[in-house]
Amino acid sequence: MKKNLQWKVLFTLAVIIGAVILATPPGEKIRLGLDLKGGIHLQLQVVTDDSINIETDQEIARMEELFKKNGITFEKMSKDGLGRFSASGLLADQEGKTRDLLDQYAGDWDYTFAGDRVILTLKPLVAQFLRDQAVEQAQETIRNRVDALGVAEPLIQRQGADKIVVELPGVDDPERVKELIKVTAVLEWKLVLAGPAPDEETLLQPYGGQVPEDAEVLRGDPKRGQSGYYLLKRVSIVTGKDLRTVRRTTDEWNNPAVSFSLNAEGGARFEQVTGENIGKQIAIVLDGRVQLAPVVEDRILRTSGGVIRGRYTPEEADDLVIVLKAGALPAGIRYLEERTIGATLGADSIRQGLVAGIVAVLAVMTFMVFFYRLSGLNAVTALVLNVVILFGALAYFKAALTLPGIAGIILAIGMSVDANVLIFERIKEENALGKGVLSSITLGFQRAFSAIFDSNLTTIISAIFLFQFGTGPIRGYAVTLIISLVANMFTAVFVSHLIFDLTVKKTAKTLSI
């Protein structure tokens, strides 16, 4: 055997063995896409406007305080729009002072004076940063929540400016997951001034039909058996941020409940407020809905924490713990796309894909061997190698195999013989022109190469764009196509030539082709 032939053989063996090791056992090493495994695919959008609004509210509160502290007279501050607010009723001779104050403390805001008003607008760069941060935080929060669910291999991916894609393989309870992800999970404890009342009018009767300045009206959560209206103090006693631990527990009647303890600051506030309000109600509010409003029976010590009993089912109690632990979402989210694929459908698809694949492989093999005889066997070997390398590469890149991906493999099988056909037809032609067997083979490979190279590369180019712009299953398709085309250049040209070199004798007069 010639020396460089030995190296070629070694190299080929190394590639094959490498691919086989990477891909065994295929059941574990090849990641299946959602369409084959079953599960939930959600695309959601973070309402980043929320974070701008929150920032504006906080800035208004901060500025009111600052203006008062620095003796700047103003009538009132009001939110005018997204990322915009204004203070009105300013005195003309205080403009300079106001400017100094704003320059010093409101660096994130642009301001303009108009008559007795100063209008503040959030700087675009800052707004952009806030939006970005909101999406990032939302992604993090969702990841924490999903992790707590114990889903294997979840995919939580940011897409574009404000979108997040969540893929949960094997989850069979879509409603629960959707709820779990979407809930903002802002938890607050607030003092109850009045309620529950069947409607707002009855509730506000003692207050002359007006909501008092420092109060707000919130509804009960029907899911918790709360149907009435409550009048609550606007300021929260403690919020979810003050929670130190949250645990799933059962109450004294063995019903599911959630116990919590508070951090030092929150505990102190809780102890003080409960001590001052014995006999009154404190409402536990989740995302603006009153969950329950127990009566304070005694001062709750800062260290003792408490229990939330909301007529929960065991699952609901679990989920509440999950969302409270993961923290609140920084902004609301909207669903843009929802797909639930049952595991049965995926299994069906795999089975049918497998059948189609086997039929395709057998048909192509039979055809090639029938048509090209021994050389056809050579092509079949190259084809099998191509598929082996493809699976090795899929395992290596951890690319998911999707249903279109299976179609991609089957097509790749059809295409991978194309290179062999090109070469074999060329060898036949050269042979017909009276060239010897060996030189026909060499010439056949040489002359067919440019066509093989050009055609494979153009298809790779289009597959790359498919990958770039495609989503989910389509990406899987593009990946299998690209890999198998690259592998094709190796198996159909390099390996196939090697097999001829190894098997065709120098003295051969005819070639089985």
């Binding site: 249903l403 298809t459 989503t471």
Partner: protein
């Protein structure tokens, strides 16, 4: 073995016939698409909801349609899949109200799906659910485990797992007797019969895409197609000559248009995999075209005195064997996909099937003539320029 001795078919003699035929198909397709709304956008592009369900007992397609008509959704597309008359695919498009946000529209679609599912369920299901029984055909694994563990702490979890895994493979549990075959203890099956019922329907999949996400997907599909075409044009123009690149793109445009024209005459909908299929066809067709151009390029080096048309005809004939063999093997694999690949991939396979046949035609009939026309128009005097 040889398919045939190098033939000598005067392909290029028929170039005007081919052009007329191509034009006719495309015109019919465009008419059908523009006037008769022939191309239907699928769920991927923000249109309605796609639901796949399996019934416990076989159900006639007319019954399914009747149930849907009763709730005013008689216009839904209903397709039977599987052989036992138990699996159905239901597509409903609800025209959205203006000003609805994505969230609202998705909610509306989900509500629609719920309504369909409710309508298809038998009344006895509701009665049993009303008695506090759980539906064994929809219950999730966690709840089932909890249910079984309370009375069978030892064997409960494993039994739950077996039941769920059986349901996953088969889609739906048709009778309690089936469970006995899973090796569960009789007492456990008995208690299941008391505490659960077998719902008449299970949902295999439900998909809905909001208008905004649909718009994004549509944009991306167009982007992918356009950029892929531009990429290929540039590559071919660099490797060959500009007119060959132009010809290749003409051929591709024809591939896309003819395939879509034919597609528009079927009941099938356009979804993302269809775009992928079309692009693949384009890839195959360009393979064929390149092989021929490659041959023309090679022949031109030796046959300097012959007119281009003659060289092209020779090249077409020389590569004909390869073109037919390759397309033949491709047809074998695509055929396998079409006949055995299953319901979900069937539209994709259909496009591939049409495209493979059409690709051969477009390569032989159109690619070379375009180069000829181009040279006649732009380089009439310099006939030696190839």
């Amino acid at each position: 073995m040889q398919l045939f001795k190098t033939p000598n078919i005067p392909f290029l003699k028929y170039k005007y016939v081919a052009l007329a035929l191509t034009g006719a198909i495309i015109l019919a397709g465009i008419l059908n698409i523009a006037v008769f709304d022939g191309l239907k956008l699928g769920v991927d592009f923000g249109e309605g909801i796609l639901l796949r369900v399996v019934f416990k007992d076989p159900m006639a397609i007319d019954d399914v349609r009747q149930q849907l008509s009763d709730i005013g959704l008689g216009k839904s597309t209903i397709q039977e899949s599987g052989e036992e008359g138990r699996e159905y695919q239901i597509r409903t498009v609800q025209t959205g109200t203006a000003g609805e946000t994505d969230d609202e529209q998705i909610e509306a679609h989900q509500a629609l799906a719920d309504a369909i599912i409710d309508a298809l369920r038998k009344e006895e299901d509701a009665a049993k659910a009303g008695q506090g029984l759980r539906d064994l055909n929809t219950i999730d694994e966690r709840s089932l485990t909890a249910l079984l563990s309370s009375s069978f702490p030892g064997s409960g979890p494993e039994a739950a797992q077996r039941i769920i895994s059986y349901r996953r493979t088969n889609g739906i549990i048709t009778a309690f007797e089936v469970l006995s075959g899973l090796g569960l203890e009789p007492a456990l099956v008995e208690s299941l019969e008391k505490e659960t019922y077998l719902g008449s329907l299970a949902v295999l999949s439900r998909e809905t895409v909001g208008p905004q996400a649909g718009k994004t997907l549509r944009r991306k599909a167009v982007q992918a197609t356009v950029w892929a075409l531009i990429g290929m044009l540039i590559y071919i123009a660099v490797r060959f000559k500009l007119e060959y690149g132009v010809a290749a793109i003409f051929t591709l445009a024809q591939d896309v248009l003819i395939t879509m024209s034919i597609y528009s005459f079927t009941d099938r909908e356009i979804n993302l995999p269809i775009i992928a299929a079309v692009l693949t066809i384009v890839g195959f067709s360009i393979n064929d075209t390149i092989v021929i151009f490659d041959r023309v390029r090679e022949n031109l080096k030796v046959r300097r005195r012959e007119p281009l048309e003659q060289v092209m005809n020779l090249s077409l004939n020389q590569t004909l064997g390869r073109t037919l063999i390759t397309s033949g093997t491709l047809l074998l694999t695509v055929g396998a996909l079409y006949f055995f690949g299953g319901e979900v991939i069937n539209d994709f396979a259909f496009v591939m099937l049409v495209g493979t046949v059409e690709g051969v035609y477009s390569t032989i009939a159109l690619s070379c003539p375009v180069v000829l026309f181009w040279q006649r128009i732009f380089k009439p005097k310099n006939s030696r320029n190839r």
